[in-house]
Symmetry: C2
Subunit: 646 residues, 2 copies
């Protein structure tokens, strides 16, 4: 007997219907025009004035009856009698008859009788007479009354989100205050594991991101967020938070505490003090979603995982908020992209977080973990239930996570501080996925990255004459072994690799490692592979087996995922030595014991070699400025920028 029955998941369309039937009523308030940006208009705006309110001159010059100028020319100017001058903002009135003219400034009202303005450049004035050297047509250099906005018309519709242009239009019809909608949405994060940003991160705790992403998401819809912070996952705490929120909000969004686990109480409380309308939507990741009403106030419980919460918010809640605000269609930010890689779905309807780089869409999923990450996703795509397979090249619509600035290049592979320098100098925006070198080769093979930074060493290639036996070669042998084609390897720069030890450590080289506690890097990292080769060389020299040597080093099998973890372990004294770059040692005040100089290169798919962003990347790599700005231990050399084609 299984402990728990599967819940009946609500179909997607049914969930939408349930949400759309929820009643929320925004309040109306007046906003000063300068604070109205991004808010939603509460009423139709009908203008009581024309814009411009009168026909006005668009140039400095002279107001005339156009017909008086028809016969004039550069050599035979017409002579007209000057009646006076109308400065901008003046209410001086003249009546211009045949043979008469009035000096006029840009923006001033055209006097009665006149129907055009001669630019000052084509005139000459003397003793009350003006000579005109060029004819004007009727209406020339005149902006007619009401030609921008005609009075009596509806200039903006209720529900319009106020942007730059709308604010300008409201100003130009004289509105100082505008009626906007106020829809207070309460945001509660629940979970015993959550700590608010700025708090102390005890073991087992994570920072609460949902409060902040939902806060901005709600604001972007034109509603008003109220943050209630983090609430513990217990009945008392949640009940109390809900009670406050119910009294202050038109809608409540919670995240976390909605799954079927033992510690999760949100849906039980809604059931007790209100009414549950749905629990679980049949779309991945909608299973934990709960929809209910407490004392007339709708409440929607979102998943705890940040990217899942944002997806469900965008898919179900944001359209509802916009509808409640009467906001017009088109606010949801979507962009069409092309799948950069094959996608397999489980044949269940799904929202899949994706990255969007130069119109290419790739799953924002490091492959290993079951849960995808907020930092890598620009938005998500919807995969229909019947789809199990989507080919690379398929056009898909991406719903963006708010107002996203999209990256220019997607770079996988091993971490290197040189990448930050490349990013800064090129002005490009990188999306970097530090997958280790092995992961970089795979990402290029799968088409999920544009560039991979790799430092994978190999020894004694068997079928190549050009390398000496025993010589370590970088990256090229891996490309050959994997049979990669349609790629190029661009030689990068050299990096000093060594042991990282405390300043007073006696460790002076690899031969001192036996008996010392080591923190190694993770499998798949080029650094680990290089250490292994160097140890193999050393063991050979010593006449012992590699295994014998490594077995004598406690922690040799460990695998830190980042250099920072390595440094921390050394600094804390938990281990006696780590492995990493000189730069890393120096930044952390550690001693660096060099054991090799390796080559860090860039593997690039041929397909993208000519896109402007990649060209810019390569240009920066070969620049003198880049060479001069590389941190200690990294150095360009004669092969930097060399391109090897496969």
């Amino acid at each position: 007997m299984k402990r728990k029955e599967f819940r009946e998941l609500v179909p997607v369309e049914e969930a939408r219907r349930i949400i759309n039937r929820l009643q929320i009523r925004p309040e109306k308030e007046n906003s000063a025009l300068e604070n109205a940006y991004g808010k939603i208009l509460a009423e139709d705006i009908v203008t009581e004035i024309n814009v411009p309110p009168f026909s006005r001159a668009t140039m400095d010059g002279y107001a005339v009856r156009a017909e008086d100028t028809y016969a004039c020319s550069e050599t035979e100017p017409v002579k007209l009698k000057l009646l006076g001058n109308i400065p901008a903002g003046s209410d001086v009135s003249f009546k211009v008859s045949a043979g008469e003219i009035v000096e006029i400034a840009t923006g001033a009202p055209i006097p009665e009788g006149a129907d055009a303005v001669v630019m000052v450049e084509y005139s000459s004035e003397e003793n009350g007479t003006v000579l005109i050297f060029r004819p004007v047509a009727g209406g020339e250099n005149v902006m007619k009354a009401g030609s921008d906005i005609l009075k009596g018309g509806r200039v903006l519709r209720r529900g319009r989100k106020l942007g730059t242009r709308e604010i300008g239009v409201l100003a130009s019809i004289g509105k100082k205050e505008v009626p906007v909608l106020r829809l207070p949405v309460g945001i509660i994060s629940t979970g015993n594991e959550l700590v608010s940003p700025g708090g102390n991160l005890a073991p087992g705790k994570v920072y609460d991101a949902n409060s902040y992403t939902l806060y901005t998401g709600v604001q972007e819809c034109g509603a008003f967020s109220l943050l209630y912070g983090v609430v513990k996952d217990d009945e008392t705490g949640i009940r109390k938070a809900l009670e406050t929120a119910v009294s202050e909000c038109a809608l409540i969004l919670t995240s976390g505490s909605t799954s079927s686990g033992t510690g999760d109480v949100m849906y039980r409380i809604i059931d007790e003090v209100g009414e549950t309308l749905a629990h679980g939507i049949n779309i991945k990741p909608g299973k934990p979603v709960v929809i209910g009403i407490i004392k007339g106030v709708p409440i929607i419980g979102l998943p705890g995982n940040p990217s899942s919460a944002l997806m469900i918010f965008n898919e179900f809640v944001a359209p509802f908020l916009r509808k409640a605000l009467g906001a017009e269609a088109g606010v949801r930010r979507t962009e069409t992209g092309i799948l950069g890689t094959v996608l397999r779905s489980e044949g269940r309807q799904q929202l899949l977080p994706v990255g969007l780089v130069r119109g290419r869409v790739y799953p924002a999923d490091r492959g290993s973990g079951a849960i995808t990450s907020l930092s890598e996703a620009d938005g998500f795509i919807e995969i229909p239930p019947e789809t199990e397979y989507m080919e690379a090249g398929t056009a898909v619509e991406v719903t963006l996570f708010g107002e996203v600035e999209k990256p220019d290049l997607l770079i996988a592979g091993g971490f290197c501080p040189g990448l930050d320098v490349l990013e800064d100098l090129s002005g490009l925006r990188f999306r970097t996925l530090y997958t280790g070198s092995s992961g970089g080769f795979s990402a290029i093979a799968a088409g999920t990255a544009d560039i991979a930074g790799v430092n994978m060493p190999s020894k004694r290639p068997e079928n190549r004459r050009e390398s000496l036996p025993g010589e370590i070669r970088y990256n090229a042998p891996t490309i050959e072994n994997m049979g990669l084609s349609e790629v190029v390897l661009v030689k990068g720069y050299r990096r000093e690799m060594g042991l990282l030890v405390q300043q007073d450590s006696p460790v002076s080289g690899l031969e001192a490692l036996p008996g010392k506690r080591l923190i190694n890097r993770n499998r798949g990292s080029g650094t680990r592979a290089l250490l292994e080769l160097k140890i193999e060389e050393l063991a050979e020299k010593k006449g012992i087996s590699k295994k014998e040597f490594t077995d004598s080093i406690p922690g040799y099998g460990s695998g830190a995922k980042s250099e920072v973890s390595v440094c921390e372990a050394v600094l804390s004294g938990k281990v006696d030595a780590g492995v990493g770059l000189r730069n890393c040692a120096e930044r952390n005040g550690l001693k660096f014991v060099k054991f090799a100089e390796e080559e860090y290169d860039f593997l690039i798919r041929k397909e993208v070699l000519d896109v402007p962003e990649v060209r810019k990347f390569l240009k920066t790599l070969s620049s003198a400025e880049f060479a001069s700005k590389l941190p200690a231990g990294l150095q360009v050399y004669e092969r930097t920028g060399e391109i090897i084609s496969y």
Copy 2:
């Protein structure tokens, strides 16, 4: 001798160089995370923690060694010993060995030894023993430490504009405060004709829109606006405003008072108290632009016309602001569109304001006035100096005026309150250009509108048998006369047309008009054409000429541009009668004396007949709800929705 020499205009590229050499230094300040949205990051953000900080369960269930489950199945579950329970947020530690299992909640840390989580659905617990019915793979339902963000890496680069996702990332690494840039930009509108919104609009005055559009434009760039309001166009006022702004701002933007007219003093003051770097850029509308420095603070004077000011701001100032803030590329919002109509340029480099409707680009220019309007433009395109002609269908890049919500349909023609009903019910956004019926036919012919609302009457067509002599037909004859093809006429609804008079007026019909002061509608309006036909009928009946009749009506030749102007003239007693719709009379408390029932139809280009927005428009037109919501005097009839193809 001409009064004024042409100034030497600065070439565009030289102007960019001058602006880019200006020195502005943003300040650094800390912002609470919840207020950081839209601001620019002042420093690189390097994370000191992994996200998640530990490997965590992504499902409720049991943490196991995956290999312990490999052999189990639905029918032959494996039995494992339950060690305990790890709730989310707990720091309880267990060590899981072969044959052991620990209950775990979503989000809780994976205990030592375990490498996967079995979902609770595939388990059953009894007396300290757990049965597992389905194998899991290593890593399944586990999110590894650092798999979202790896510690030590730069997660966000200095200069990043903070959006939803960035705020979420900062929260998830625990930042409560973030270092952002503060760049105060002062905004001054100058001109004697300007009144701040909310003020009284005396004759000759217009409302100041530039303060507000520039305010939002500056904010959108991530800088901070300071509004100094409207300043009179005199030395003392402008000097004083500049003095204050120089002491408070890093950059000053003014608008107006920069042309060469007699009343314009801005550039003279800059020359006196500071240094003028450029006056006039050789790009339309950049002629009035002035660039200078006062006491080390750069000042840029923009044109007074709102859409010109916005274009120059977007083209020259916004890129400079973003660069000063170190903001990364790609913030400028552009969109590619297809020219919907032929464009002729004057062969001078130009920024042309355009509308953007469903990817189609058309000039936002009503043709008549020399100056284009803010309310119709979504952005602008750049026309190179050598271009004199651009074909319809050419792809162009539109720089958007800030964050624009683009219209769904572009509708030209005669005004009708029924259009507001259609817009509300369809949920579509219309861009309406009330050009009169004639203008509507032209806009469709030129391809610059999708739909035109038209009510143009004609009588006695000569070559058509189906109409009776003397019968008035609507719109179809005009289509035939203009030789329009590739269009359809969709029959709309009937409108009661009549004279609008004061409640106590003795005027009871057209025959009472002689000797009464009339306000007529403008030429090109269907209403005027209909009145003319009806008067012709009446004159014929009376045995006099039409001219004789109309000459007897003072003001017959007048031409109000809108119904509202007509109503105002009647209400004020300036005239005795006007002409318009019943609806308009009723809304303004006037008496309505009906003289005809006309047909208001929709002329649509065939090309767009099948786009979803047009289909939705037509569906709404034929709906019962539309019929029921039409205001008094407008009525659907049996032909509503009928489509006549040409």
